[in-house]
């Protein structure tokens, strides 16, 4: 496996992404809405009530759930790019000439994966940085200390988000082999979003609490799912399959 070859594919994907303004707005818009909207929501809750000890517990719980939100948007962002990247090749029928070059199937996949991973991860990190700064500003007078950054943030951003993006790219790759329209592929890829959304809902209704242990357990499950999906992806993304079985 040559990283150089994979990076050539990534650079080509970036040149195409740069020309698709909607993708750029998508990467900027979603994290920005969350990073500003969520602190505003918390600010509204805090300012609308007199402060009690139970409020502190409620607000920190809310902030932990919101932090998890960034793992969810990493699925949304990466699925979108990955789906467009692979289905785009299908629509333009450019996979056949690409596969006739000395590049391997794995290098193409890695290149495309990186082109979805890098902007998604960067957008989440940047969005989360703004979120943490604003959230600390609005919650300081309630908590008396800066809540962020903390260990949960590190687990979410440096462990859960990267492996979630990998999972999402894998789901997108497999779904892209079954359809020939980016929207359908994206909708199918969003199946990867469902388990994370369920965890979020369970947190909101108080069934689970997003402690560091819970986050590590979720990360463990996602890591296992990554490995399982990888075997499916390798089987799906090979030249014989692409040229003879892909729709």
């Amino acid at each position: 496996m040559s990283f150089r070859n994979a990076w050539i594919v990534t650079q080509k994907e970036f040149s195409i992404v740069r020309l698709r303004k909607t993708l750029i707005y998508f990467y900027i818009g979603i994290p920005l809405v969350l990073s500003i909207g969520l602190p505003l929501l918390v600010s509204h809750i805090i300012n609308g009530q007199s402060i009690r000890a139970s409020d502190i517990h409620y607000v920190t719980g809310l902030m932990d759930a919101f932090e998890f939100f960034f793992a969810i948007i990493s699925v949304i962002l990466s699925s979108y790019t990955a789906a467009y990247s692979i289905v785009g090749e299908k629509i333009q029928k450019s996979l056949e000439p690409l596969l006739s070059t000395p590049i391997s199937d794995g290098e193409i996949l890695l290149g495309k994966g990186l082109s979805a991973f890098i902007p998604s991860f960067a957008a989440v990190i940047l969005g989360n940085s703004i979120y943490m700064a604003l959230m600390d500003k609005v919650s300081f007078h309630l908590l008396g200390y800066y809540y962020y950054p903390n260990l949960s943030t590190a687990i979410v951003l440096l462990l859960l988000v990267p492996i979630t993006i990998v999972f999402s790219i894998e789901v997108s790759t497999v779904s892209s082999s079954r359809v020939s329209d980016p929207r359908s592929s994206y909708q199918l890829s969003m199946a990867g979003f469902i388990p994370f959304f369920i965890v979020y809902v369970l947190t909101e209704v108080g069934v689970i609490t997003l402690t560091n242990t819970t986050l590590l357990a979720i990360a463990g499950i996602v890591a296992v799912a990554d490995v399982v999906m990888y075997t499916v992806v390798v089987k799906t993304f090979n030249r014989d399959e692409i040229l003879t079985s892909w729709k």
Binding site: I8, S15, I16, K93, T101, P102, R239, D240, L243
Partner: protein, 306 residues
């Protein structure tokens, strides 16, 4: 350059290509003809290491297709123009070629030189920065051929390169192919344009899952014995027709005062036919020998296979 023996591709219980054997020598244009679903694209894909072979032996430049290491080396010495041009429509012609140059490991200087030379040669230099999406079909096909040549391959595989092109664009592409032969490239061409095969191919194979005919266009015409003799008479009557039928078992086409007879060997059969007609009182005005078109050769081969 290309050596194929017993090459077979089976998908499940369907044989797409069966027991294919042929050779293409250096600097030759080889045309693979056949109806839709005959296995032309599967053959091209196997030879360009895109899909695996089920059995048989195939080699390019003494490198074995199917061997993982050799397949990688083969991909470095071949260029492919697929049936669909498969260009990145948002990107410019220059960027499309530059991307492929990078994949083949060319240095920046080599890429600049090669891309410029090809785009100038194909009359695309002036529009190099325009997105390919704005190009006509003919221009896109030229970009696709230029892209396949970006790394100066020894062998070029072309899958239906003139399909869906208007006659002018098709001629430009054919001229490009002929120029590439002059440069010493070996060209493997899939086509069902028989006229094109006749005009530019040195050797032709007719494929219908199996190879049913192989040779130069001229050799095929001789081997398939598809010559016709047209005899113009001042009057066609039953006596004349009866006389022809006594010396020839071929079907006789009658068009007014013209008779067309299939002949296997014009040199020996024509004098016999003429003698039979004159003996029956027929008055011959003219005798014309028709060489078969590639279409007739092709149809004869395919029908005989049926």
């Amino acid at each position: 350059m290309i050596y194929v023996e017993g090459l077979t591709k089976v998908f499940g219980d369907f044989t797409a290509v069966g027991d294919l054997t042929f050779q293409v020598t250096d600097g030759e244009i080889f045309g693979l003809l056949g109806p839709n679903g005959a296995g032309k694209t599967s053959t091209l894909r196997m030879l360009s290491c895109l899909i695996s072979k089920t059995s048989g032996d195939a080699r390019i430049d003494d490198l074995s297709i199917g061997n993982k290491e050799d397949s990688k080396k083969i991909r470095r010495i071949i260029g492919l123009v697929a049936e669909n041009v498969g260009l990145y429509e948002e990107l410019s012609a220059y960027k499309n070629l530059d991307f492929y140059g990078k994949l083949y490991g060319l240095t920046e200087t080599q890429r600049k030189e090669n891309v410029r030379r090809l785009l100038e040669e194909f009359d695309l230099w002036e529009v190099r920065d325009r997105p390919v999406a704005t190009f006509s079909k003919g221009m896109k096909q030229k970009v696709a051929i230029a892209r396949a040549l970006a790394h100066d391959p020894k062998v070029l595989f072309l899958d239906e390169p003139t399909a869906n092109l208007d006659p002018e664009a098709a001629k430009i592409v054919r001229d490009l192919i002929l120029n590439l032969r002059k440069e010493g490239k070996t060209i493997f061409l899939n086509t069902h344009n028989l006229d094109e095969a006749q005009r530019i191919c040195d050797k032709v194979g007719i494929l219908k899952t199996k190879l049913i005919a192989l040779g130069s266009p001229e050799q095929l015409k001789v081997s398939l014995r598809a010559d016709k003799t047209v005899i113009a008479l001042d009057e066609v009557n039953d006596k004349v027709l009866g006389a022809i039928r006594t010396v020839s078992s071929s079907e006789i086409e009658i068009d007014g005062k013209k008779l067309t007879v299939d002949v296997r060997n014009p040199q020996t059969e024509n004098p016999i036919l003429i003698k039979a007609i004159t003996s029956a009182g027929g008055n011959i005005v003219a005798v014309t020998q028709l060489s078969p078109t590639m279409e007739e050769v092709y149809l004869k081969a395919v029908r005989e296979k049926k």
